[in-house]
Amino acid sequence: MAFEALTGVNGDLITISWMASKGANQTEHYLKEEVGGIVFFAFPPSFSAEDLFATANTSPFGEIKMKRNQFPCMRSIGNNVNATVNEAFLKNLEVIIGPRTSFYASVQSAVEREQQIVFTGHSLGGATAILATVWYLETYFIRNPNVPEPRCVTFGAPLVGDYIFKHALGRENWSRFFVNFVTRFDIVPRIMLARKASIEKILPHVLGQLDPRRASIQESDQIITEFYTTVMRDTYTVASKAVCQLIGNGEAFLETLSSFLELSPYRPVGTFVFSTQKRLVVVNNSDAILQMLLYTCQSNDEQELSLIPFLSIRDHHGYEELVQSIGIKLLNHLDLHNPPLDGENSIGSALNDLGMSTRGRQCIHAALEAEKQRVENQKNIETKRDKIVERLTWIVEKYKPKCQTHKNGYYDCFKDSKEDNDFKANVTRVELAGIFDEVLGLVKKGQLPDGFEGSGGWINLATQYRRLIEPLDISNYYRHLKNEDTGPYMLHGRPSRYIYAQRGYDSARAHLARPAVGFYFFGPPRAGPFRPAGKIHMSKPAPQSPAGFKRVGFSFAGNPQTRKPATGLPAYIRDPQWACPLGPLIYGQKIQCPSPPRHGPLGQSPRAIGPLDTSRYEHRILKPKGMIAEDVFWNKVNDLNLGLQQEIQENLKISGSKCGSCFWAEVEELKGKPYEEVEVRVKTLQGMLERWIGDGEVDDKEIFLEGSTFRKWWNTLPDNHILHSPLYLRGRLMDETRAT
């Protein structure tokens, strides 16, 4: 059925969801139904004001930021902002998943049996269903590839989260799991667009009217009319602002005006199904849905207009009828291919049925056009990928080897800039900066599809870029002594394109556990005689193998000549389109692996450089708990036992040790300073170095070269320090000395 193709749910599933939602009215927390192997969790609605606006919450829309450790994916990666949701709804979820109910255990057992779950609810129960689905996605779905896709079906649910909430679900490709039914005038899906202050007083009365257990509603209830007008006025403000932003152009006045406005942050999420007498209109575009929430709730018929306040309450109880009529109604899909402005097509008549005015259609059109533009923007960027790859390849295959013959790596060659190649590298550096800044500008302004941020290909490319080119930017920075004007590179000098790229990389590692989403290897190529291909040792099983890690992906150095993985493990490339252009890497393999393999110290035994490193294993467990790079960094620093935590934090405030590609910036900062002053920083740097090399963040073929700034600086350190420095470091520095 077309409906299933559009929404991901079929008529039966909707009917059962509705029955369960209705049944949940009688329960305190949730109702569980199992039909045909699918488990339905339905949540009861509430009609008390404190379940809409949390009592202690002082924000104008009862909102709160989601916690990163509980919902690590619910954020904007690039801009590094967590999603915002309604606090009352979130609290309700917390009660349900808490120890007072059996919900958690029920979900757990469904997960263990690999059963599909549908979360559902009517009214505020729908809001709970949405958050429960997000919780399920974060807790089970991303961590275990065997967990089936959930569904979330809501009926007349209020909006739950903000733009970032919507963006994050889009990025993870999770929006498709949510289907929301809305009868034309139902006020509840619009309530969260109003300011708490403007509706607070009359809210209890209105909720009383909305409660199906109460007496029937009157047609001429002045408070209801007032409520409707207030909600619609605020909806108007939100929707008009959204349209102005979609169209763009002349934002300065809008910006000035905005600091005087209190606008609801909430946005629609997932698929919306609007229903009229004869039709169902399916919409996925969040911006378009927002406009529809406004324009479908109006009328040009005076008589109907006066009835709308009443209808806005009555329609909240129209879902039984809607569900029953799904099979017999006409179906329309509103998207880019069925634009709303083409006169007499079926979508046109559907919008007529919904009472959409010309202005309303223009607004929807603007929303769809903006989506089209985002897709265009991405296409436009995609065309530049070849150029990026070509430039990076040149650096890896030509520039770096050439520099290495001078016995000082490309970092130092670039700093001296004596040869043509150095200038060519400089042009390359500036060209790439231009491309990545352009991408960054689009990311910052949200002018790319939601999925872009999560697309492995770009994260991979940006990581390659960061690792290869950031050293050149640092080199350039210190070559021109910009540190004397603007301070250390890490303080004000680091371009945001690298900061964003790093965040993308850190967040991607959080997803390594789920091959279905796709994961990618980020290391630089490991060609050359240094790294013999070899086997991964899997002799000792780890003490414990956490649940859900049965099948994991990882990457490792293969044989540079044959480009084959060196082990006989069943491995295959997930997405050849993204195959690493830079070297003999096979990445993205999926393997059956009972436990993480052990690997010997660097340089001694063949090693895995994929997520199966023990270090990576730790990441994988940390990250889904919301560990960000910063936390991982401080954890590592604590392991180094350098002294008082507070002192150390002060010392490392602007340290380049926070990111491997800033290694050179830290060396530059340390080299002019007396050892006593920077002891903690020196030790941190060397403490980080081994993992960086393992991760591919720092190229060990470069830094140990005779003429490298690092090596020269290292030799100036006090003997006592060198004597107590890690074995591998002394080993490497001595090896190279012997070799030369």
């Binding site: 008009s240 910006e255 109006q298 202005r359 223009q362 607004c363 059109h365 060209e431 900066a433």
Partner: protein, 537 residues
């Protein structure tokens, strides 16, 4: 299909109307005009009345923002179109910062200006108070009806100068106020972010006289069935220009009508098609200009990287990039050279000329933000590229570049770079290795060329009069002094001492003229001390 400008005008209008800001402002305006008898508004803080002028203002501290209301007596008809001219150098001008390079003076509406200046003491006090409010993150609305709104606009312009860019900008809302700015001020504000701080509510029934005064800011034009919000001042003029209508408009009614139209679906077309087309065309032009500046910055960096590269290759063959460029101009051989001239140099010149133009259009303080942003890259560009322009200039057989041939944008870039930055640079050059240094004085080669011309004249002119010879010789001595100064200050690139350079050519010639007369420079050159010039000390 209707265009997006029309949709935007209507959406912005709806946004303004549903935001409730107009009501908040208007109700306070009503209050100041008809004070209620028992007024104990706790939020009301100041109410000052200058008896002689009749200007009055009140501050209301609301929960979300602070409101300042201005009230002024009705305008005397005879003076309603008088204007006062203010020049950037006038001591009496309270708005010198608004002047731009292109528009050093502008005129204001006299009645509003007089009211504004008459209350300057209490307004200064008000300003410091509002700045405190803004710093506490609470935004400020400044409002007034009729002439009161005009004074509110002036006051806002004055206040904006002291507001740091990090603070929230205030919003000035006027109701049916006379226009206050002439074409010059309109032009200045059009290129400033200040323009976004004005919202003028006007009824479409009022006809505003626009023969001298011009609109700026955003206009909310109210029709019977709805409203539109437009920034494009040409369109505003087209929609409102007409016979001055003295009939007073009651904005209470206008606002009520707007409220009623909010939830109805009537979308009548409020702006004529041709006006919309004009708006779109102008918006596109403005975008183009803007793109030119910011999107191209990276291309410019690429071109600079190429020229840096070019400079390095030239040095390798013992000829400075200046002389290489000059010879290649005459006999182009390599593609690299041609590209440098035809592509990179000309792109850079075009770009920086447009940056300078843009800056000159803006009021001083807006311009200074831009200047700061482009300071170092602009300076680098000037020092790197101007020598190439000089090479072209002298190759055409002309002379005296500095005084007669120099492009305006170089002069401005040099002026902006300013003394302070040079001092920092000088300090830095004292010890450092200078091999990457770009000569401070970007007209250095012009000096060399002029001096070569002088030598040539001295050598070739037969029977030169003594006084002429003396003048020319003095020029040479001056040049020598100049040379010695920049060498001792380490402000000149060591590249000038490369064998094939024009400067070395000059030296060979000059040496002959100079004979055995010794000087610092001759000793420096003769003893080949220059070979170690610029090494780190």
């Amino acid at each position: 299909m209707e265009s997006s400008s029309s949709l935007k005008g209507s959406a912005l209008g709806k946004l303004v109307v549903t935001s409730g800001l107009l009501h908040s402002s208007w109700s306070k305006i009503l209050e100041i005009h008809n004070p209620p008898y028992s007024n104990h508004d706790p939020g009301l803080q100041v109410s000052k009345k200058k008896k002689d002028s009749g200007l009055e203002f009140q501050i209301h501290r609301e929960e979300k923002f602070t409101l300042v209301v201005f009230s002024a007596p009705p305008i005397c008809r005879s003076s309603s179109s008088d204007s006062t001219l203010l020049h950037v150098k006038d001591k009496e001008n309270p708005f010198p910062f608004l002047c731009s390079e292109n528009n050093p003076s502008f005129s204001l509406h006299t009645p509003a200006f007089n009211l504004f200046t008459s209350a300057s003491t209490s307004l200064t006090y008000l300003k410091s108070e509002l700045l405190q409010t803004l710093k506490s993150e609470k935004p400020v609305i400044i409002t007034g009806a009729a002439l009161g709104g005009s004074v509110a606009s002036l006051y806002t312009l004055w206040l904006l100068e002291t507001i740091e860019p990090t603070l929230k900008r205030p919003l000035c809302i006027t109701f049916g106020s006379p226009l206050i700015a002439d074409a010059s001020l309109q032009q200045i504000l059009e290129n400033s972010v200040r323009n976004s701080c004005f919202l003028h509510v006007v009824s479409a029934q009022t006809r505003i006289k626009m023969d001298f005064f011009k609109p700026f800011g955003t206009f909310l034009i109210c029709f019977d069935s709805g409203c539109v919000c437009i920034e494009d001042h040409v369109a505003v003029t087209e929609l409102l220009n007409g016979v001055h209508d003295s009939g007073l408009v009651d904005y209470s009614q206008v606002l009520n009508r707007l409220d009623q139209s909010m939830l109805s679906l009537a979308d009548s077309r409020l702006i004529p098609e041709d006006v919309i087309k004009g708006i779109e065309k102008r918006a596109e032009m403005k975008n183009l200009r803007f793109d030119m500046m910011f999107k191209k910055l990276n291309d410019m960096k690429i071109s600079m990287a190429y020229i840096e590269w070019y400079k390095k290759t030239c040095k390798e063959v013992k000829i400075g990039y200046y002389d290489r460029f000059k010879t290649q101009l005459a006999f182009p051989s390599k593609e690299f050279d041609i590209n440098i001239k035809n592509h990179h140099k000309s792109e850079l010149n075009r770009f920086w000329k447009s940056v300078v133009e843009e800056v000159e259009r803006r009021p001083q303080s807006d311009a200074s933000i831009l200047k700061r942003r482009f300071l170092f890259s602009g300076n680098n560009y000037r020092r790197m590229i101007e020598p190439l322009d000089i090479a072209e200039y002298y190759l055409e057989g002309r002379k005296e570049y500095r005084t007669t041939g120099r492009s305006h944008h170089y002069v401005m870039l040099e002026k902006w770079f300013g003394m302070e930055s040079i001092l920092i640079e000088k300090e830095r050059c004292k010890k450092r290795d200078l091999s990457d240094l770009l000569t401070f004085d970007s007209c250095f080669w012009a000096e060399v060329e002029d001096s070569l011309i002088v030598i040539n004249q001295l050598n070739t002119t037969v029977g030169m009069r003594d006084d002429v010879r003396e003048v020319l010789t003095r020029k040479l001595v001056e040049f020598e002094g100049y040379m010695w100064e920049i060498i001792t200050k380490r402000e000149v690139s060591p590249e000038i001492f490369l064998e094939e350079s024009s400067f070395m050519k000059w030296w060979k010639e000059y040496k002959k003229i100079k004979g055995f007369n010794s000087s610092y420079l001759t000793e420096f050159m003769n003893t080949r001390k220059y070979e170690s010039y610029g090494k780190s000390q």
